[in-house]
């Protein structure tokens, strides 16, 4: 299953300059692990050592927050788009 992974252009330093990556897998976890092989810095920003999503990091599949689905076990299908967006907040 081939899935697009998008990162904000501001974070493309972590992805060797690309804001769109090609991932493979049947779940968000598999897709992120796949793109993480070539982009370990990106993966480290997304997940904790234990493999769960970091606190201020949002992951969407076709615009739906995976926290409302099955988190990292959310299934993905061919052509889906996984987007990674750190929280935009402050005081």
């Amino acid at each position: 299953m081939s899935v697009k992974v998008r990162v904000p252009s501001a974070l493309r330093k972590l992805t060797q300059g690309r804001s769109e990556l090609e991932g493979k897998g049947g779940t968000v976890r598999e897709v992120l692990d796949h793109v993480g092989r070539d982009n370990p810095e990106l993966l480290a920003r997304i997940t904790e050592d234990g493999g769960e999503i970091r606190q201020f990091l949002n992951v969407f599949v076709n615009g739906t927050d995976i926290r409302y689905e099955k988190d990292l076990d959310t299934p993905v299908a061919e052509g889906d788009e996984v987007s990674i967006v750190p929280s935009i907040a402050g005081g």
Partner: protein, 191 residues
């Protein structure tokens, strides 16, 4: 392939964009106003803001005076509308209804998630007529927040024409898990 963004060395925005942001900030004097900055990154690290896209502060109403939160879907929408052009989301802006335009501890926490991104803060100090505006950015190497000076924009590339941004989804839900309390470790002023 686009090169990774270099540290930001200067920033500028057209007068009308600055005026629009100030208007927006003054329209909600008791809440933090916030939004996205769209523009162009020059090779020399200069950032030329071409437009400011207001965003709803989706923090809970009681907290908006000292906190802001932008729905991450707003960023996805704006980035989508910019695909294929030379502009990108280069930063964010927000206001401090009761303070200086300096990054708070909470701001710094989130700036770490957005290295080499322009953070424009409009601060309203006591007795101040007009909000003061200053730009900041986190240089991830060595992890310092630096002030970004306003730099002239004469060599700014012309922005390509594009359709207007999609509207703000009003009443958008608060992103779950996107915010929990972060209290200032040193008890500093947090606005």
């Amino acid at each position: 392939m686009i090169p990774a963004p270099p540290p930001i060395t200067g920033w500028t925005w057209p007068e009308e964009v600055g005026r629009a942001v100030l208007r927006e900030v003054r329209a909600v004097p008791t809440e933090e106003a916030c939004g996205l900055l769209v523009g162009v990154r020059r090779e020399d690290g200069g950032v030329v803001v071409t437009s400011a896209v207001p965003a709803e502060n989706v923090e809970s109403p009681g907290r908006r005076r000292r906190r802001f939160l932008i729905d991450p879907l707003r960023l996805l929408e704006v980035e989508k509308s910019l695909r294929g052009g030379n502009e990108e989301v280069v930063g964010f802006y927000h206001s401090h209804p009761d303070g200086e335009p300096l990054p708070s501890e909470v701001d710094r926490t989130f700036m770490e998630l957005w290295p080499n991104t322009l953070w424009v803060i409009a601060g309203i100090t006591e007795g101040g007529e007009l909000p003061q505006i200053r730009g900041w950015s986190l240089d991830p190497d060595p992890g310092e927040v630096n002030e970004v000076p306003v730099a002239p924009s004469e060599s700014a590339p012309a922005a390509r024409a594009r359709p207007p941004h999609p509207g703000v989804p009003r009443g958008a839900r608060r992103p779950h898990g996107a915010w929990t309390d972060i209290e200032s470790p040193r008890g500093k002023k947090e606005d």
